[in-house]
């Protein structure tokens, strides 16, 4: 009985959570559609949340591109299809690796930062202070972060795509003696530009997920410093899970015709 009760409560909570997230998102959209956007704050956030993630996106995509190439290049050459490695790496990078890696990395770094910042603003009554001045926390805080990630995450993904392909090409050259020309030719023919755009569309969706979940978790923080910690962890865990789920759904819709 206890199990059923817990499960029941869990389901109710999940619905309440989803409802709260949807409400926040709708509220943010209203301001965006009404063009009630704070441009300065958005640029600041784009810098803070996006530019500062550049180095870790470079590192993670470089090594992932390298290891992917390492595993596939040697085998491919053994089977006499070394000319396909470039295509394989580029194909995976544009469709899955680039969008997913940059999203997960940014969720860990930026989603956590958003939740922690808004959470501590709740705890120190700064959110209520905004409201008491007749200002909407959604417009002042959530919309700039949402737009910043919506723009920056696809850009970071372009970077991740390029870096993982370069890393892959380098390793393919060293370990399987696949020439750069052959790698690039293969990459070009395997990945239509449309696929790159679809990958970027996915990462725009992931950007929205990270910003909204981070903001929502931050804004519903209760109970002091410990609450901020919980909000931060919650933001990272929830957004990463949602990114995986949405990635599957979007890949299914976009790529599996």
């Amino acid at each position: 009985m206890k199990v059923l009760e817990d499960a029941g409560r869990g389901t109710t909570n999940a619905f309440a959570y989803a409802g709260g997230v949807a409400e926040l998102f709708a509220d943010a959209l209203r301001f965006i559609v009404g063009l009630r956007i704070r441009v300065g704050a958005t640029v600041d956030q784009a810098y803070l949340l996006g530019v500062q993630s550049v180095s870790i996106v470079i590192l993670t995509s470089l090594f992932t591109g390298m290891v992917f190439s390492l595993e596939s290049a040697v085998q491919a050459v053994q089977y006499g299809v070394g000319n396909l490695v470039g295509g394989l790496v580029a194909f995976t990078a544009a469709r899955e690796l680039g969008p997913m890696l940059s999203a997960v990395v940014v969720a860990g770094r930026t989603g956590a930062a958003i939740a922690a910042e808004l959470g501590s603003m709740v705890v120190t009554e700064q959110i209520e202070a905004l409201q008491s001045l007749g200002l909407s926390p959604t417009r002042m805080l959530v919309v700039p972060r949402l737009l910043a990630l919506l723009i920056m995450l696809p850009l970071l993904t372009v970077l991740a795509d390029i870096i993982s392909i370069i890393g892959g090409m380098w390793v393919a050259g060293i370990y399987a003696h696949i020439s750069q020309e052959s790698f690039i030719t293969s990459a070009r023919s395997a990945v239509p530009f449309e696929d790159v755009l679809k990958g970027l569309f996915k990462s725009a969706v992931f950007g929205v997920i990270i910003a909204i979940i981070g903001s929502y978790q931050g804004l519903r923080t209760r109970g002091g410093a410990a609450g901020v910690g919980k909000a931060t962890t919650g933001a990272v865990v929830t957004s990463i899970i949602l990114i995986f789920i949405f990635n599957f759904a979007l890949s299914y819709v976009l790529f599996a015709h």
Partner: protein, 250 residues
């Protein structure tokens, strides 16, 4: 006596915990009303009811004759612009300088030019006894200065009423005196209403026109300073004397 606001049979709970039960309270216009009561009694909750940050579970809240429990969020936002709120820990935005904090409501709500805003910010900071701190960040100020910066932000739009949550708690007696004096002066300057939560009896006797005592979710005493000081109510007397003996459980 005209009223600025009226709480009518209001109840508030957090989960199963009843904080305020069937509470009624009048806030007289143009006066300073002090709310006293034990920590956790629900005093801050009452301030949040008065500007619609908190909706009561039952009962009505009237501000200038309007029932704000029925108001849509959009109208509440308009209403809040006419009510200053000085938070217990000031709640200055720590990513903004003091000057930007105080200027924020003007920048967002008025069409004033940058130069006019700067001038008004500096005048308002002067009026709360803070000069030349515009460029500093809240973290660089002392406790008393932060409180005053919070006052300045709350009053810069000339609100009809200002709500102060424990403006002097935790500060030394001299600053307490100065802040109390500031509250009185600001009320005169704005020609408005003030509601002040305080534990500081001396400062309450100095500024209050009316005192309301909150105990176990309801107002157990209400009156002028003299009336409250002479109240026969044992709860009030125990509280004012800070005595361990009496009806208030410790």
């Amino acid at each position: 006596m005209a009223l600025w606001a009226r709480l009518d049979d209001v109840s508030v709970r957090y989960g199963p915990k009843i904080i305020v039960q069937n509470l009624s309270l009048d806030i007289v216009e143009g006066a300073i009303t002090c709310i006293i009561g034990l920590s956790g009694a629900g005093k801050s909750t009452i301030l949040r009811l008065l500007n619609g940050l908190k909706k009561p579970d039952s009962g009505r809240v009237f501000v200038q004759e309007n029932d704000i429990t029925e108001m849509r969020e959009r109208d509440l936002i308009e209403l809040r612009r006419t009510i200053g709120f000085a938070f217990q820990f000031s709640a200055l935005f720590d990513s903004l300088t003091v000057g930007e904090n105080v200027a924020l409501p003007l920048r967002e709500h008025s069409k004033m030019k940058d130069q006019e805003i700067r001038k008004l910010v500096s005048e308002t900071l002067d009026s709360v006894g803070l000069a030349h701190v515009e460029e500093r960040f809240p973290a660089e100020l002392s406790g008393g200065m932060v409180k005053r910066a919070g006052f300045a932000r709350a009053v810069i739009t000339n609100p009809k009423a200002v709500l102060y949550d424990e403006p002097t708690t935790g500060l030394d007696p001299i600053i307490t005196h100065v802040l109390t004096d500031t509250i009185v002066k600001l009320r005169e300057r704005l020609n408005g209403t003030a509601v002040v939560i305080s534990h500081d009896l001396e400062s309450i006797y100095m500024m209050a026109d009316y005192i309301a005592m909150l105990f176990e979710g309801a107002i157990v005493a209400y009156g002028t300073v003299d009336e409250i000081r002479r109240s026969p109510n044992p709860i009030v007397q125990q509280f004012l004397q800070g005595s361990e003996v009496g009806p208030i459980p410790i």
